[in-house]
């Protein structure tokens, strides 16, 4: 059995890892220079409880199951995950029944632990939320994670279990004969396969069309964000949602896993071709601030360090499209709108089994190991362990990113594990992610990348082809 997974976002990465549990060959194709640079890079990073999704949807089913898997998954992959819990706030009388509806919906979906809390209780747990709050729906199972870290770790673990990874290699064609997938094509070559998994995020419609399929139909829905520095840590401790209205879960205020505070996202529908429209807009950013201020009136906006936008792959049926298509051997993991990050582990487990059971001789690999050890994060280690690391490799004592206390040792290790670009280092180590946003460390990381890769600085990019960091040299 030979399977090609298309797209190394969190969905494709976890599917590839699950496929590696079985005997067979797994190939993962990603057109970007690294893992997790699509939708996975820019979202809220919430592991949702599952109370926002209508009971009959595929979303609801996989969200609740995925949520339950996250703790174990993140332990195996050594990535951060925190069950912060979440509140949905009722700020007016009209919103009170909405909380009851959400609770009922959540309970039908099997979401554990939902409770409605009084004003006093909400304010005692979250003293900075709007004092006008009337009550709050508390969901203890909601958590936060670093989405790209999940994808990166899953791919690393899959590589250790036999995955063949093809980065910077775009699938440009799929040959189908007798309604059965035959091979996938890239500018680099042709790969005969027995099955294809379409996990191409915003581009899943293009990939499906290569196999002659008209599903999914996708359009991007933009979500803009403002990120506040760690100095704002503690502003809220759990994820704060407004009462739902219309098409999205609204503009939220939530903690990020490394102590920052995230505000957003907006929800703006864009034309189908605007798949790369990740620019922020004046209207969007002011909506974010307005919406966030409704939940937390005293926002320290002076602590903003970054704005960004992500695109949700939306479809008219508002639900995931999963499983084998009318073309035999062509499997979809598409239209992965929110809560796609949450659902991904459950989808991966289920879909890998679907793909592999199509083969009669389905066999689990005896050698599969689900454990991946992360890059040491010195700033989080007990002192004695850090000391020991420095003794073995003094580069673990040389701090390069001062904001997040990331050492040269960690950066070199990130490069050893596949980082080739500034963003590759950043997403693996958080270097350049802090208060100064790389003003201190960009030149240092650039120099380390050039040295470790044996390349000229001009050849080092921020995010792959077309994004060089420097444009020439000073005259000698």
């Amino acid at each position: 059995m030979r399977v090609a997974v298309i797209g190394a976002g969190v969905v494709g990465a976890l599917i590839a890892r699950e496929l590696c549990r079985y005997e067979g060959e797994v190939l993962l194709f990603e057109r970007e220079a690294d893992v997790g640079w699509g939708v996975t890079k820019a979202n809220s990073g919430i592991v949702h409880g599952g109370f926002h999704d209508p009971p009959s949807t595929i979303r609801a089913r996989f969200c609740v199951r995925g949520n339950a898997m996250y703790e174990g998954l993140c332990r195996e992959l050594n990535v951060p995950f925190l069950r912060t819990g979440a509140y949905v706030l009722a700020l007016s009388k009209e919103e009170l029944p909405l909380l009851e509806e959400l609770r009922a919906q959540g309970e039908e979906n099997g979401v554990p632990g939902l409770e409605i809390h009084s004003q006093e209780e909400v304010l005692s747990r979250e003293p900075n939320v709007n004092p006008k709050v009337l009550s709050g729906l508390w969901s203890p199972t909601v958590g936060i994670t670093e989405p790209w870290a999940v994808a990166l770790a899953a791919v690393e673990n899959a590589l250790a279990n036999g995955l063949e990874l093809h980065l910077s290699e775009e699938i440009t064609g799929i040959r189908v004969e007798k309604r059965q997938v035959q091979e996938v094509k890239t500018p680099e070559g042709r790969y005969p396969v027995d099955a294809v998994v379409n996990a191409a995020g915003l581009f899943a419609d293009h990939v499906a069309a290569m196999a002659g399929l008209s599903e999914p139909v996708l359009f991007p829905r933009r979500g803009e964000y403002v990120l506040l520095d760690k100095a704002a840590e503690g502003l809220v401790r759990s994820v704060i949602f407004p009462a739902p209205s219309g098409k999205s879960k609204g503009i939220l205020v939530l903690p990020t896993i490394d102590g920052g505070i995230l505000l957003g996202p907006t929800a703006e529908d864009l034309p189908p071709e605007a798949k790369e429209a990740t620019e922020t807009t004046p209207e969007g950013l002011s909506q974010v601030m307005e919406g966030a201020r409704r939940l937390v009136p005293k926002l320290p906006l002076g602590q903003a360090i970054k704005t960004f936008a992500g695109l949700r792959p939306e479809s008219p049926q508002k639900d995931f499209i999963l499983g084998e298509s009318p073309v035999k051997g062509f499997y979809q993991a598409a239209a992965m709108r929110s809560p796609g990050l949450t659902a991904a582990p459950a989808i991966a487990r289920w879909l890998a089994c679907e793909v592999m059971t199509s083969e009669l001789s389905l066999k689990r690999k005896g050698s599969f190991s689900p454990i991946r050890k992360g890059i040491p994060r010195v700033a989080e280690l007990p002192e004695a362990e850090w000391e020991e690391l420095i003794r073995k490799d003094p580069r673990y004592g040389r701090i390069v990113c001062f904001c997040n206390k990331v050492t040269e040792g960690e950066i070199v290790e990130a490069i050893r594990r596949g980082a080739r670009t500034l963003d590759g280092v950043k997403f693996r180590t958080r270097a350049g992610f802090g208060r100064c946003q790389g003003a201190f460390c960009t030149d240092r990381i650039l120099a380390i990348l050039a040295r470790e890769l044996g390349r000229a600085p001009e050849e080092i990019s921020q995010k792959g082809a077309g994004s060089p960091l420097v444009g020439g040299r000073v005259r000698p």
Partner: protein, 412 residues
Amino acid sequence: MRGVKVDVLVIGGGAAGMGAAAAAAREGAKTILIERNERLGGVLEQCIHPGFGLHRYREELTGPEFAARLRGELESSGAELLTEATLLDLDPAGPRVRAASPKGLLQIRPKAVVWACGARERPFGALRIPGTRPAGIYTAGLCQRLVNIHGLLPGKRAVILGSGDIGLIMARRLRLEGVEVAAVLELKPFPGGLLRNVVQCLEDFEIPLLLRHTVAEVHGKRRLSGVTVVEVDEGGKPLPRTDRFIPCDTLVLSVGLIPEVRALESFAPLDPVNRGPKVNAWLQTEVPWLFSAGNSVAVFDLVDTVAALGARAGVAAARYAQGELPPARAVPLVRGENVLHLVPSALVPGEEATVFLRVPRPFPRVKVSLGGLISRNHLGARPAEMIEVKVPPGASKELSRMPEVRVEVTPA
């Protein structure tokens, strides 16, 4: 190194920290300086232009030359110098300091600390400018290090946002290296940097300075392709139909430095305008064992001043460690009309001092007064240039009768 006891620990080895460590050691205090970079010098190392040291050495030096002189003075002082040693945390109980270096983790228990960590640059994200997030956007200091330390050019055609000194100096530097500088944009109706730099860095090279302009949007998916520029009104709001596109592959931001105070902000009171810790005339913060000087107190424009204040902080810290600095009965300086940055925040009766202040906008002629204590006229007050007012010991004696001193600038 575990639990090393010292009299004075200086954190940061720029001009302020070098000045402080040398002075403290010369006072006979056992002194350690920690600096995260491989070399001492701080921001001076990347300022290869001349314009340093006219006051201290009566010569025009480049930044690295100035740093080399200070290093020489420091090396003969007897202070212990630890480079590649980065502060991790400063625990006010003790005080106890942890630092990391390739040689291991350090734990130091000082009697007094001089905080001299300089300033950091405001990042692009803080401006909340809409648009894409491509490669090619640099803060001016980063751009300066790329060019002057690494010998690398950021791109081919640059726009500079903000007319602070580093931005102006980088405009000239890039131009001299063959990078086209399309424009320098400044939100305010007057330049942020020194007049000298506007003339020598822009006018002499015919680089346009667009006052009351800003970047409204950033374009380009992977690498910057251009910026939309707009004119703004007095309040900084974009004026309709003034937008135009300037193609460029590089955007350099010179939009302000902020004193680095991360390790202190939880326990040392800060001045809301300076954004560094409040210090008295001894450069002592409101936490008695903690002293601070240089750009970590407020952003200064002359390195000579920074080195001198560093030395003052070093002497005071050494005396404190040796039990010879009496508790200060400090008289607060309060901001009156037209005073932005103000250092120190308090005077000590009987001690001479120099008060440094900045005005919020240019004035042709002003009267600067310190309560009833001192008043003097000043020609050509500009936001970029700090005004200095000396308080001689005689005048300072009168302070003991005053509850506070109001600092005021009035147009004359």
